[in-house]
């Protein structure tokens, strides 16, 4: 078994072991789940550091008559995302005390981790769909109320269906042009597709992203999910699953349809910029402590604006923005969740507000090179469309105001939720500072040079 297969499937093995454990032994259950998550973390670290810059790849035939293969290929961004997921999973498992972490929740969280790791590394779009569907089912089953379960499933499955639709058209074209079936993601960028067809396919991919990410106004399930998920599952949804749709966009849509992306970027950017504004303005009717939740799709939209940039630094900022989205949401989730905890955070009121300030700063402000991530997104957008940059900038300002207004509630819940949440923030903050600050982290996140070709997304400015 190779390192990549071990990385992806170790949590699933853990899920099976957790399900097979006899009796009600919560501490053992969590220890086992944590052990497998740590195995995955170790392997993700190896993949991230140990490849000398070349993407790792593993391939085996799966459904040969249809050209479907079991292909895992972690490029720089994929291995970074995998490392993040592998960091997040133990944090999520530790965020609950053992009695609160049920057998089903632990197993489903581990299955969802496998799915997310698979999404980061799938080299075959049928395999990608399989991982996406598995993760979607696992996240759906974590919901404890039928209404919330249906709401989440409807929107996410709509995104999955649109992804499948896009893949079907590509599968047909690939078969027609090459004479044999192939589901390899890398092949998509080599297909000869007319520019208008490229635009159509890109827009289909963007629509799938809008459902899956989610982007405004397709996130109406968020409030119900917040109420129906345990704090552990919500943490994983916010920090991990919120990157699933973006994986599809970054790894498949943008590299495969560069001409379509540049042609249709204006329309999609307009919707994204408006989405940022709405995310800042939208009243949230869920739990008061989580009034910051609409920031999720505001940050998704900001990241999308970066990904659609015509400049490499804008694209890097968009990719960093996605990671910051996961990190920020996880931090906010940790600050708000875990109401069962009993040990309060031993800080004065001022200290608590300062701690919340650190969390919020991690959410929106820093890039360790000194420039805020989303500022770089706006700067790159300004080159293409100053008006859109202005709209998105207003949206970002509104988002920051929303987060600032949430400070008192966050400080209260941080005080109530105690040391556990605060301690668990440390590895996340450390990871984020290292990724965004170190040269190695930034280099891994940059798009591959293939995208810098003429007509591609990231033509450098003269």
């Amino acid at each position: 078994m190779s390192i990549l297969t071990g990385l992806v499937w170790a949590p699933s093995v853990g899920a099976l072991v957790v399900l097979a454990l006899p009796g009600e032994r919560p501490s053992l259950r969590r220890a086992v789940a944590l052990g497998f998550a740590l195995v995955s973390l170790g392997l993700a670290t190896l993949v991230f550091f140990g490849d000398g810059g070349d993407p790792r790849r593993e391939i085996a035939p799966w459904i040969a008559p249809l050209g479907v293969s079991y292909e895992l290929a972690f490029d720089g961004f994929g291995s970074t995302v995998a490392l993040w997921i592998a960091v997040l999973a133990p944090v999520v498992l530790l965020s609950e005390r053992p009695p609160s972490l049920g057998r089903r929740t632990a197993a489903l969280l581990l299955l969802a981790e496998t799915a997310l790791l698979g999404l980061a590394g799938s080299g075959d779009f049928v395999l990608f769909l399989a991982f996406y569907g598995a993760g979607l089912v696992a996240m759906t089953l974590l919901h404890q109320r039928p209404g919330a379960m249906k709401g989440f499933f409807v929107f996410q499955a709509a995104g999955l269906s649109l992804m499948a639709g896009l893949f079907v058209t590509c599968f047909h074209v690939a078969w027609a042009q090459t004479g044999f079936p192939s589901a390899e993601i890398g092949r998509l960028s080599t297909l000869v597709v007319y520019p208008d067809a490229q635009s159509d396919r890109f827009l289909l991919g963007a629509a799938a992203l809008a459902f899956a990410a989610p982007l405004f106004p397709l996130a109406t399930w968020l409030k119900e999910s917040e109420e129906a998920l345990s704090s552990t599952a919500l943490l994983f949804l916010l920090g991990g699953w919120s990157l699933a749709g973006a994986q599809f966009f970054v790894r498949i849509v943008l590299p495969s349809f560069p001409t379509g992306a540049s042609d249709a970027a204006g329309v999609v950017s307009l919707f994204a910029a408006l989405g940022v504004v709405f995310a800042g303005l939208l009243p949230y009717r869920g739990t008061r402590e989580r009034s910051w939740l609409p920031a999720l799709f505001g940050m998704q939209a900001l990241s999308l604006l970066g990904l659609l940039s015509s400049r490499t630094d804008g694209i890097v900022a968009g990719r960093l923005g996605l990671l910051q989205l996961g990190v920020g949401m996880a931090l906010l989730g940790l600050a708000t969740g875990g109401a069962e905890s009993t040990a309060g955070l031993p800080l004065t009121k001022g200290g608590r507000v300062a701690a919340v300030g650190v969390v919020l700063a991690a959410v929106v402000l820093p890039g360790a090179d000194g420039l805020p991530v989303y500022w770089r997104v706006l700067a790159s957008l300004h080159d293409r469309s100053p008006t859109l940059a202005l709209v998105a900038g207003v949206g970002l300002a509104l988002l920051i105001v929303r987060l600032l207004l949430a400070v008192p509630n966050l400080a209260r819940s941080l005080h109530r939720n105690g040391r556990r949440g605060a301690l668990l923030m440390l590895p996340i903050l450390g990871w984020w500072l290292w990724i965004s600050g170190s040269g190695r982290g930034a280099a891994r996140i940059a798009p591959p040079s293939a995208l810098s070709k003429p007509g591609g997304l990231d033509e450098e400015e003269p």
Binding site: L19, W62, I63, A64, P65, L66, V68, R104, V126, L129, A130, F131, Y132, G133, A134, V137, T140, L141, H143, Q144, R145, P146, G147, M149, K150, F153, V154, A157, A158, L160, S161, A164, G165, F167, V168, T169, F171, H172, W175, A176, P181, A183
Partner: protein
């Protein structure tokens, strides 16, 4: 070859007679005889599939396609045999299976439509008024529509009802013949619909027996339509099939979303899957392999779901057994193992990734795209999405606790017998495994369609 082909159809016929004649004391032996018969017939079919196409008695085909379909029929007869359906129901099913085998092997439209036409009379039992009424209406529908179509085919072609002869006749009288073929197709699909609805809604047999009865007829109908579209590509009734397919898929999808009774839900699900099978006919040459695999996945997912729902019916208190009749009866939920099996069954029925069948949809979609059936593809995709939402109704009921009505006292503490759970688990694992690794199945189906002429 002739002997093997005749034996394949004769064995279910004789097994059906043995089962019908068995007494309660000899039922066990009759089941054993039928099981051995199925195994022998399955072996014969496997041997036949190794030969190329052979014409028997001038109007029957022994080819890999027939062998593939016969294997599907035999498997669908085996499930209710393993599960404890009544002797009478089993006997009728086996007789119906023999009729379906005739339909899948013949190229004579008259013989096929007659075999399928009397199928509802043979398989039904006429116990209830509603059932009898439904069966009568089905036969009338079939009789009027299909026989009118057959008359037009005969008149239009001037060469009788043998497909090979019609195909050899060229385009003379094509318009009349095309209308006739459309009527035959419509009649057969309506026959299937009426029979399946009658079985699921009015029959008192187990869900597995109902699924088996519906599926046997579906295989027969699908094989006739497949031969129609394959032998007569220029005058094939594609317009009628397109309308029927989308209507079936739409009715099934919305039926799944609106159903409150388990049997209505399964009827709608079977209808939706039949719609997918019919849509595969629009894919021309490239749609034939996916059609066979759609049939296989339809059977497996429906059987698994039916078996799971039947097994979930066992209530714990006092050993009494309550059938699950309403979807709300699924709460309180059965034990974890049964829930997982129901999850596999429900999402396999929707071919939701990573459950069985989803990869096959790519080749099906590609076939539709290559035939220029983009509108049908888009419509079918939207409806398949609704089917997935419908399947989630089962999942949400067995995996959540809130939102259910108060359980009756007998429902509390519901449990499943270890034997049932083991069987269900093995079936779910096998179906999931075959669905995820379908390469061998694809090879068999590809060979079957490649050598059907």
């Amino acid at each position: 070859v002739t002997l093997l082909a005749v034996a394949c159809a004769a064995i279910p016929l004789l097994s059906g007679v043995v089962l019908l004649l068995s007494t309660p004391s000899s039922l066990r032996g009759a089941r054993l005889v039928a099981a051995i018969g199925l195994a022998v017939a399955g072996t014969f079919a496997a041997l036949l599939s190794r030969h190329g196409r052979t014409t028997i008695f001038g109007g029957f085909d022994s080819d890999p396609l027939s062998a593939f379909l016969v294997e599907l029929l035999l498997l669908s007869l085996a499930i209710p045999l393993v599960r404890r359906s009544s002797a009478a129901a089993l006997g009728r099913l086996f007789l119906g299976g023999a009729l379906a085998m005739v339909a899948v092997s013949t190229r004579d439209l008259l013989l096929a439509t007659l075999a399928l036409g009397i199928y509802p009379f043979v398989v039904g039992n006429g116990r209830t008024e509603g059932e009898g009424r439904a069966r009568t209406s089905a036969s009338w529908m079939f009789g009027i529509v299909s026989l009118a179509g057959l008359a037009l085919v005969t008149y239009g072609s001037g060469r009788g009802t043998n497909l090979a002869a019609i195909a050899a006749g060229g385009r003379e009288g094509a318009t009349v013949g095309e209308v006739g073929l459309s009527l035959v197709a419509a009649g057969l699909v309506l026959l299937w619909l009426a029979h399946s609805r009658e079985r699921f809604r009015y029959s008192e047999e187990s869900l597995e027996a109902c699924v088996s009865s519906s599926f046997l007829l579906l295989v027969g109908v699908a094989s006739v339509l497949l031969r129609l579209t394959a032998w007569l590509p220029d005058s094939s009734p594609l317009a009628a099939i397109r309308a029927l397919a989308l209507a079936a898929l739409g009715l099934g999808a919305f039926g799944m979303l609106g159903a409150t009774r388990v049997r209505t839900f399964l009827t709608a699900l079977a209808l939706a899957r039949t719609g997918m099978v019919l849509i595969a006919l629009l894919g021309g040459v490239h749609g034939r392999m996916p059609l066979l695999l759609e049939l296989a996945t339809t059977a497996s997912s429906l059987f698994l779901l039916a078996w799971g729902l039947e097994s979930a019916a066992v209530a714990g208190d006092g050993g009494n057994v309550e059938r699950v009749t309403s979807l709300d009866d699924l709460q309180p939920a059965p034990p974890s193992g049964a829930r997982i099996c129901l999850l596999v069954g429900a999402l396999s029925a929707a071919s939701f990734p990573p459950f069985p069948g989803f990869a096959i949809r790519f080749s099906l979609a590609r076939a539709l795209a290559s035939e220029g059936e983009s509108a049908a593809l888009v419509a079918a995709s939207a409806l398949v999405f609704l089917v997935a939402l419908g399947a989630m109704r089962i999942v949400s009921r067995v995996f959540t606790a809130a939102g259910s009505p108060s359980p009756s006292p007998s429902q509390t503490g519901r449990r499943i017998t270890p034997e049932a759970l083991l069987g269900l688990g093995l079936a779910a694992a096998a179906i999931w495994f075959l669905g995820i690794f379908p390469a061998r199945l694809i090879e068999l189906a590809s060979r079957a369609v490649a050598e059907m002429f």
